[in-house]
């Protein structure tokens, strides 16, 4: 993949920093450790721990988010969810449980629905991410967004972005053939307001409408 200069100021301030050099020094230290007598090892390991804790290395990351190529750099521990919300200000994707249990953070990566809270951003290098912000075509809402409004598919609206991303995937995966199947395949998305019956209606409607999703 070719790297273009990014027009995004965010990524300017995240250019690989001193971290890379520190890391190389660190690796050399590790190699040295391998040949150090065990008696000296403990002390050296402690020092390494101390340095490791204070050191942050960033990794370059190319992502296409909602059709726009982005050149970024992230710490390995950054999840895709935190990257979207905190670094890129795309707060449509919601953080519920942050542990894979509620589905609020559902996004599409290379066309598949996944949980962004359990996805490390660095592992998505070169992939295409679609979030709730990427569904509408200008002022024209996505058919699933329309259907959620029409069928009253949400109350507080917190789980709604994840539900909509999952609902679309559910149809694309051909798992929307009956209300029962829809419920099963939407079960990874929890709604604390209990809007489920109307969510199912919205998905049935879009499926039967036969629009392209």
């Amino acid at each position: 993949m070719t790297r273009k200069k990014s027009p995004n100021p965010q990524s300017e301030e995240q250019q690989p920093n001193e971290g890379r050099r520190d890391f190389l020094k660190q690796s050399t230290l590790l190699t040295a450790l391998a040949v150090t007598p065990p008696s000296l090892l403990e002390a050296a390991e402690l020092r390494w721990d101390e340095k490791a804790a204070s050191y942050l290395e960033k990794m370059p990351l190319d992502l296409e988010i909602n059709g726009k190529a982005q050149q970024l750099s992230v710490e390995p521990r950054t999840t895709l969810l935190d990257l979207l919300r905190e670094q890129l200000g795309q707060t449509g994707t919601k953080k519920g449980c942050d542990h894979g249990q509620c589905g609020a953070c559902t996004v599409h990566v290379d066309g598949k629905r996944v949980l962004s809270c359990l996805s490390l951003a660095v592992m998505q290098d070169g992939k295409k991410v679609t979030t709730i912000e990427g569904l509408a075509n200008g002022d024209q809402l996505h058919p699933m967004q329309e259907a959620f409004i029409k069928h009253d598919g949400f109350q507080c609206g917190y789980c709604t972005p994840g539900q909509i991303m999952s609902g679309i995937a559910c149809i694309r995966e051909a798992h929307a053939n009956s209300e029962e199947e829809i419920r099963e395949y939407m079960s990874g998305n929890i709604c604390r307001c209990g809007a489920y019956p109307n969510i199912v209606k919205a998905i049935v409607d879009v499926k039967q409408g036969g629009q392209k999703v």
Partner: protein
């Protein structure tokens, strides 16, 4: 999450080397279990080795076996034509696990390696011999509703959480691994282990051994199979008790049968004695009841999970009835 180093490998050799020479490194596949455990501070690797570029995603027929690469996704395996046609029990078990979003990330290898869902194991303020050997077992006298009734030790009473593995143990699968000392093949029954005095070890893999895939030998369990998972909610929860049942019928007579049970032991529980009892018998509720009694031999509860002593045999009977078309 504590920060860590990260690197990608694209050959199996590099993956094995990376782990063998760095005792603080761990492989990451889908990340659905590892990232969760790292967020909770249950495990704190200093380096993650991303193995997603390894060529281990294939699902194919090799001779009289079905081969599935370790990096094949749970959702892809569940919906694969070959798997559905030849090993429908595996497809059913996979579909009963987690949610579609998680199955789209979770890999076959990672699923086998996922750690217990014991809540004491997950809570770093609690004692747990599996997380920190020697600290004691919080569940033994604590809230142990989800815990094991077979093969426990006083060191640990946790259960293995995977649904897929219950089908695989019933189907006599083999695990293919590559490590610093070369390749080996482990029968699925011997892959996971009982807690004994070393509950920190979930399985018989040695450090640096990578799962490359699994193999399932051909069988005649295409028509009468069922995976029954009993859980607190109708979907998207771990099993209280689950049963994988495959029956080969001739008329009403059981020619052959395979039974795996989940949610009851530290490893996927195979019911060989029960299978032997059923062979040659008429498929009927009465026979299944007798079989279930036999299956529960040696089981005991720890208080909150005593209900499993009733739930397990009932689940077994129901799964056999559905599999044999007697429901």
């Amino acid at each position: 999450m504590i920060n860590f180093g990260y690197s990608r490998v694209s050959t199996i050799k590099a993956a094995v080397e990376a782990l063998s020479k760095d005792s603080n490194a761990q492989w990451i596949a889908g990340g659905t279990n590892l990232v969760d455990l790292m967020k909770k501070g249950v495990t704190t690797p200093e380096k993650l080795i991303d193995i997603n570029n390894l060529p281990l995603k294939e699902i194919k027929k090799t001779g009289n076996k079905l081969y599935i690469g370790a990096l094949a996704l749970n959702s892809e395996v569940a919906e694969n034509e070959l798997v559905r046609k030849e090993q429908p029990l595996l497809s059913l078990a996979l579909q009963a696990g987690a949610s579609q979003q998680i199955r789209n990330m979770a890999t076959i290898g990672g699923n086998m390696m996922q750690r217990t869902r014991c809540s004491y194991f997950y809570n770093t303020d609690m004692p747990c011999n599996k997380r920190e050997p020697g600290t004691g077992c919080g569940a033994l006298k604590g809230f142990n509703r989800m815990h094991a009734i077979f093969g426990t030790s006083e060191k640990c009473i946790a259960v293995h959480p995977s649904d897929m593995c219950i089908a695989l143990v019933a189907l006599d699968a083999a695990v293919l691994v590559t490590g610093p000392k070369g390749d080996r093949r482990i029968s699925f029954q011997n892959f996971h282990r009982l807690p004994g005095d070393t509950p920190q070890k979930d399985n018989t893999l040695e450090r640096g051994e990578l799962i490359t895939g699994i193999e399932i030998p051909d069988n005649s369990y295409q028509d009468h199979v069922h995976y029954l998972k009993v859980r607190d909610r109708t979907s998207y929860a771990f099993a209280l008790v689950s049963v994988a049942a495959a029956v080969n019928l001739q008329g009403d007579t059981i020619q052959d049968v395979r039974l795996g049970m989940g949610g009851v032991a530290h490893k996927p529980w195979r019911l060989t004695e029960t299978e032997n009892f059923l062979k040659g018998k008429k498929a009927s509720e009465a026979t299944f009841r007798q079989a279930a009694e036999l299956a529960l031999k040696g089981a005991h509860g720890f208080g909150h999970n005593n209900f499993k002593l009733k739930l397990a045999p009932n689940t077994l009977v129901e799964a056999l009835k559905i599999a044999a078309g007697k429901a």
